[in-house]
Amino acid sequence: MFGLANPTKFMRFSGILLPYLIITTLGLFGWGLYMVFTAPEDYLQGPLSRILYVHAPSAYLAQAAYVFMALANFTGYIWRHPLADMAAKNAAPIGATFALLTIITGMLWGKPAWGTWWVWDARLTSVFILFIMYLGYIAIWQVIEDQVKAARVATIVAAVGLINIPIIKFSVEWWNTLHQPASLTTSGSAIHPSMLTALLIMFAAFTFLFTSLLFISIRTEINRRRARAMEMRILQQNIAQTNLSTRAAINNQEPD
């Protein structure tokens, strides 16, 4: 991990690894989807049950990405490890996307299953809040221009958020049992073995997808910042020249 400390080594290393990651991701998706469509349908819910194979893995990744993000931030904070900060920064939008995907697939499923797009149920609510926490975190990176400063503040936000995830989960569950007996549960019937295999493969596929996206995103950012640094350098040289000539022109008409 620490061997990748500097961006150049990371670029080289990730450059080699990335193609394999992508191929693995695609392969797993292919296999997983094949399994999904050959697996027996859930006898209660019919073809709709297939949403599960997207829904459950994204739900897991939405949470895992938050934990990853907070840990990466910690690493950056304690060991002053900028690449870790960048990993955290770039994990956030991906995690947010998975949270959104969970919500969307859940809603698509909810309409036929429950007759409504949305209910204020414990699980749904906590995913929704997770999504909002992602948005807040992303906003921090956007609003603070100084990236070193942003990293420090982001760490505090991520840390507070991390403590808060279980708290919210618990309190939200309490809330429902207090006010409304659990009329809806998301856990379906016992899972058929072939469904389980398919599900596990999809979990793996999603995990690889996350890793690939993260690598691509970090690489893009490094490249963008390098490009900007070069641009600045050239700009500065140009300015220095125009500067001299314009100043000269201005000084020529100096009043006595």
Partner: protein, 221 residues
């Protein structure tokens, strides 16, 4: 036109720049609307019943609470002096600032209303009426907010006292806004009466506001 266009663009970009993109106004709506179910409980029927009212109140609050800002920042850094004396007519300047405020505050709500409606279990068929009525009503509300802001421009942190001052002015819009929405949603007897009154109120506010506000700002100088 160029000066006014420049002002319009500046105000909007200041608004969006200062809190992380379009996220900020939308963030506010999301927050309030999410808190509601926690407050009143998650029963969908109850939520459906109060959803139109809650969304209107939230729109009103968002406009009310941000109204102070219409002139406060410009006063603080001395821009207001120049805005009122160095460019186009004060009335035009105020109208433009009003519209910019509307675009920054009310428009985002209109855009995410479908999502919020969903979360609050808005009655089916209530979406379009809600968006339409809010579109019309919010313009009037922004105009009224501008008058209030101009009156209070020299009071620091007027945020909350401003609420007291313009509150009575908001009430007609709120009443007719909600009833126009309800009438249209449930296709009651004369679904358009309330809408017409709402439109009239907004138009009048919009016409009066620039003059009233210009007058108030002058008195303040």
């Amino acid at each position: 036109m160029k000066p006014l266009l420049a002002l319009f663009k500046r105000d909007i970009s200041l608004f969006f720049r200062s809190g992380g993109g379009a996220g900020q106004a939308i963030g506010f709506y999301l927050v309030v609307v999410i808190l509601f179910p926690f407050g009143v409980g998650p029963e969908l029927n109850l939520l459906a019943r109060i959803s139109i009212g809650v969304l209107w109140v939230v729109l009103l609050l968002a406009i009310l609470l941000s109204a102070e800002r219409i002139f406060a920042d410009d006063l603080e850094d001395g821009s207001l002096t120049l805005l009122l004396t160095a460019g186009p007519l004060p009335e035009m300047v105020i109208l433009v600032k009003l519209l910019a405020h509307w675009v920054s505050i009310a428009l985002p709500l209109l855009v995410i209303t479908p999502l919020l409606g969903l979360l609050l279990n808005l009655p089916a068929g209530g979406l379009w009426p809600l968006v339409l009525c809010m579109f019309i009503g919010s313009l009037g509300l922004c105009a009224l907010a501008t008058i209030g802001a101009s009156i209070l421009v020299s009071i620091r942190r007027a945020n909350q006292i401003i609420s007291l001052l313009i509150l009575p002015l908001y009430i007609p819009t709120l009443i007719f806004g909600v009833s126009a929405t309800t009438d249209l949603t449930f296709q009651l007897d004369q679904p358009y009466t309330a809408l017409l009154i709402l439109t009239a109120i907004s138009l009048i506010s919009l016409i009066i506001a620039p003059f009233a506000a210009a007058q108030a700002l002058k008195a303040n100088a």
